[in-house]
């Protein structure tokens, strides 16, 4: 089950990266740690690393707080409606980063839409500073990372059997207490995988902070990217990436040891079954004590929540959705602008930018290439990522933690480093400029998303359902088809979406791997519009979103899976 993913990782990632990392241990031909210790001794490097880690941590925390109520509400809706709303959640992912950041500036700047509304309403006397500072960084970063939190949470909550909550209440538990002791622990695998994805992808993310942050904003990935792309200082970049990787891995190991129970992955190796049982167990002692002490107030709070709680949670969820889609609301008019450059609101409306896009054969070719390469890459990452998750969760074996860390590490190492390493090994076998190179690259960067999501999906998976089916005579394949996969459907959809978008949106691998017959859309378009920020980029976002909306409409129309999957209010996950 692990063979395919290990083969890909070894050939396209571990060995190439190893060569590059080895270079960072060289100084004038000698093996040395000097490059790395010099970094750690550099105050500037330590400050930038620290800021990167804390920023990523805070963004993760905010994402969790916003995403939790949203996922909670979505998980209670019938699947077909939840699917539609989840599509809205994916909005930040389908709008190109450039246009999205521009939309935020339009909204948040001193003379922006938000400040105009606030001033007009008399709520403030002078414009709030919302962009080009820390606030702007957080608003932009949280926005783009939020889907990575919502999807795994939804997948976990979707499977929680709400009759457990009803049972707890019948036995005298308050809503709040039932939530704390039953719902929250059961949703933990989603929390863990969402936090992992968000935290790690924040580390490598610097474009949004660079565009929306203040003049002091600087992320480690920015320095690494400058070293690779502008200075062509490969060893220097590799040294920084190595230190980053080590620090994050150490952090992970430390955290995993401490929160192993909550996260479910331990080096000792436990079967999914025991972990599932442990899901219902109490909180760690100090927290349990705290809850105990607060039980009185909590009870009161709980009964209050049960009266107003519903509406409050729903309101929070609606706010979160609004936050996710508001930039798209700016982007749509921009796509229909008749202005030669970006101005908001557009002075007039026309289809000129759609026409230029659809008339440009090079772009359409590139769009076709990107769809195909990212699509195939995403499918490959599903094919290799899902069995790996099954193996890690369900097969007791040695070395699960190192394996887990290896499989998520492409999220930690900035893509520009992976792409550079991959470039050298692919050049050796003449793969540069071929579609295969892109499929390999996209499968590699998509696989960690698939893997993390499915690990979360499989933890706390109630295997008694599978066993029941097997006892009733179902073959393993039938069990997989009729029990396991339907329960994992939201996980599958999220994994496919992320793996696809991560490839479709990629610029970095394109810079290295492109050739005459293999040029992805972001490279081609970025090349063409880099000189003029035109409304053109908005068109791609609108078309992409329209395509997703059409797919959803088709899904509704065909009632595909819908009837079978829709849940009764208050019913179990497979009612």
């Amino acid at each position: 089950m692990l063979a395919p993913i290990l083969a890909l990782f070894l050939a396209a990632y571990v060995l190439p990266l190893g060569g590059l990392v080895a270079d960072s241990f060289q100084r004038e031909g000698d093996f040395t740690f000097a490059n790395h210790t010099a970094l750690l001794e550099s105050r500037a490097f330590r400050i930038i690393l620290w800021r990167t880690l804390t920023l990523s941590f805070v963004v993760t925390l905010i994402c969790l707080l916003i995403a939790y109520p949203l996922a909670y509400v979505l998980a209670r809706l019938p699947s077909r409606w939840a699917a539609g709303l989840l599509l809205l959640v994916s909005v930040p992912y389908v709008t190109s980063i450039l246009i999205r950041s521009y939309a935020w500036v339009v909204l948040l700047a001193n003379n922006g839409v938000v400040n105009k509304l606030l001033l007009a309403s008399g709520l403030v006397d002078e414009p709030l500073k919302l962009a080009f500072n820390e606030t702007g960084t957080y608003i932009g970063m949280v926005h783009v990372q939020l889907p990575l939190m919502v999807f795994p949470l939804y997948a976990a909550m979707h499977r929680i059997d709400r009759s457990l909550l009803a049972a707890a209440r019948n036995l005298g538990s308050t809503s709040a207490s039932a939530f704390w002791h039953i719902f929250l622990p059961l949703s933990l695998p989603g929390v863990a995988s969402g936090c992992t994805l968000v935290f790690l992808s924040c580390l490598g993310f610097y474009v949004t902070p660079a565009l929306l942050g203040g003049p002091g904003q600087y992320m480690l990935a920015q320095g690494i990217t400058v070293r690779v792309l502008t200075l062509a200082d490969f060893a220097g970049a590799a040294a920084q990436a190595t230190v980053l990787l080590l620090v994050v891995v150490l952090l992970f190991v430390a955290l995993r040891r401490r929160f192993a129970a909550g996260l479910g992955i331990e080096s000792t190796g436990r079967s999914g079954r025991t972990t599932a049982a442990r899901g219902l167990r109490a909180w760690p002692a100090p927290l349990e004590a705290a809850i105990e002490a607060l039980s009185g107030p909590l009870r009161t709070l709980g009964s209050m929540l049960s009266i107003v709680g519903g509406p409050v949670v729903v309101a929070l969820a609606v706010l979160a959705l609004l936050y996710l889609i508001v930039p798209l609301l700016m982007v749509i008019p921009l796509a229909f602008s008749d202005s030669p450059y970006l101005t908001f609101p557009p002075p007039g409306y026309s289809l000129r930018w759609f026409k230029t896009f659809l008339a440009n054969a090079r772009w359409l070719d590139a769009a076709g290439f990107s769809l195909a390469a990212a699509g195939i890459g995403a499918v490959v990452s599903l094919i290799i990522g899902i069995p790996a998750a099954f193996a890690v969760v369900r097969r007791p074996m040695m070395g699960r933690l190192p394996l887990y860390l290896l499989l998520i590490s492409p999220l930690i190492v900035p893509h520009v480093i992976v792409a550079l390493a991959m470039y050298f090994s692919m050049a050796r076998v003449q793969l540069i400029g071929t579609p295969l190179a892109f499929v390999i690259a996209y499968a590699l960067i998509g696989a960690p998303y698939v893997f993390v999501l499915f690990v979360a999906g499989l933890l706390r998976f109630d295997r008694s359902l599978e066993m029941a089916a097997a006892n009733l005579g179902a073959t393993p394949v039938t069990v997989l088809r009729t029990v396991t996969l339907p329960l994992l459907l939201p996980t599958l959809a999220a994994a496919l979406l992320f793996a696809f978008i991560i490839g479709f949106d990629d610029v970095v691998f394109g810079l290295f791997l492109a050739g005459t017959n293999a040029t992805p859309l972001p490279i081609r378009m970025w090349d063409d519009i880099r000189l003029e920020i035109s409304p053109q980029i908005a068109v791609v976002a609108v078309l992409l979103f329209a395509a997703l909306a059409l797919a959803y409409a088709a899904y509704l129309a065909l009632g595909l899976l819908g009837d079978r999957r829709s849940r009764m209010p208050g019913g179990g996950p497979i009612a």
Binding site: T230, L342, D527
Partner: protein, 383 residues
């Protein structure tokens, strides 16, 4: 305009030494020196050939101008097919040469990078046998070098909101630093661009250093000057389109931008003011990556693209100055006056010293890299 624009992703940077070297030699030995450097026959060159040549395109209006001025006429005259290859960054170009499989036969590097590539033995020498002597003599103010021929010249100039300062805007970098006289937020290129952003030079000029005395840069003085402007910086811009966009959106009142971006925005109705005074002339070069397949065709292409008439055709499409000054003979005056190397503008500006930017310090670190490292320290508050 500026290829400058995309610099973050672009590739280009430098070849410095050669320019200074040539300037010095020209001054010392007069015209004869440059002649002897580039011995060239008197008759028009026959560039006919077969096969293909893979050329960096640049995309958008830049690529379009190349297609009309260079690619199509070259194919017609020589029978050699031009294969357009999209852009990539300096790092990817270097990687492709290291891997022995450069993706271009002819590519473009910024002046601030070319010398580093040459020093690492990654470029082929230019064969000036394919050039007309007259074409070579026309290059001004940047002479062709052993490994590179200038492709475009552009200027990093001070820019401001023309509507806000209608009665007269900032006219020097000191004015840009003076937020009492010209109030409002500022934006300058991020220092991670090293020489390409010109931010260090601007800081020194704002502090009173004459362009002639800029090099070698006094880093401490530059950062002290940056300390003064930092509280008024809205953000450090990181792509060439960003500076003008920030002015158009009224996010900033003044800053710096590439001249081509400003003129292009103004052609579309924007009101961005700028001054040639203390503008920094920068340039990109045609170069031949070592290991490329079609080197003869590549040499012919560069010679073709150096002819004044072709460069004039190029400058009609996009506001990059033609490095061959004889191209001005073919340009209409109203077009010529927009270009940064026209005589009036030329005398207010200076050519950036790429030799300095490529030179290595006593600790063996090139100034380009040093600037980025010091910038990171400064941004992190650790300098």
């Amino acid at each position: 305009m500026n290829n400058a624009i995309g610099r973050r992703g672009l590739a280009m940077k430098t070849g410095i030494n050669r320019r200074l070297l040539l300037q010095t030699m020209t001054i010392a030995g007069g015209i004869s020196v440059s002649r002897s450097l580039f011995p060239a026959p008197a008759l028009a060159k026959d560039l006919k050939g077969t096969g293909t040549v893979a050329v960096y395109d640049g995309g958008g209006s830049w690529g379009e101008a190349k297609r009309i001025a260079y690619f199509e006429p070259f194919e017609k005259e020589t029978g050699i097919k031009v294969v357009i290859v999209p852009r990539t960054d300096t790092g990817a170009v270097r990687a492709s040469i290291l891997a022995g499989a450069p993706r271009y036969d002819v590519t473009i590097l910024s002046g601030s990078t070319t010398a580093t590539f040459a020093r690492e033995d990654m470029l082929l020498p230019i064969d000036y046998g394919y050039f007309e002597t007259a074409d070579l003599d026309g290059f001004d103010p940047v002479k062709p070098g052993k490994f590179s021929v200038p492709h475009i010249i552009y200027s990093l100039v001070l820019a401001y909101d023309g509507a806000k300062f209608a009665a007269g805007g900032p006219a020097s970098w000191a004015d840009i630093w003076d937020v009492k006289k010209f109030p409002g937020p500022r934006s300058l290129p991020t220092g991670t661009w090293g020489g390409d952003g010109g931010t260090f030079e601007c800081a020194l000029m704002a502090d009173g250093v004459e362009p002639a005395n800029l090099y070698p840069l006094d880093w401490d003085r530059a950062f002290k000057s940056l300390d003064r402007i930092k509280p008024n910086i809205l953000k450090w811009w990181a792509s060439g389109a960003e500076g003008p966009q920030l002015i158009v959106d009224k996010q900033i009142a003044a800053g710096s931008a590439w001249n081509g971006r400003i003129s292009a925005a103004n052609e579309q109705g924007a009101k961005i003011g700028f001054s040639w005074n203390q503008g920094i002339l920068q340039y990109d070069n045609w170069v031949l990556p070592k290991g490329a397949k079609n080197t003869v065709n590549a040499q012919k292409f560069i010679a073709f693209a150096s002819r004044p008439a072709n460069q004039a055709k190029f400058a009609e499409r996009i506001l990059y100055a033609p490095p061959n000054a004889k191209a001005y003979d073919f340009l209409k005056p109203e077009r010529a006056k927009l270009l940064p190397t026209q005589p009036e503008a030329r005398k207010l500006q200076f050519v950036q010293d790429y030799e300095f930017w490529n030179a290595t310090r006593p600790d063996k670190m090139p100034n380009n890299k040093y600037a980025v490292a010091e910038w990171e320290k400064w941004i992190a508050g650790a300098r």
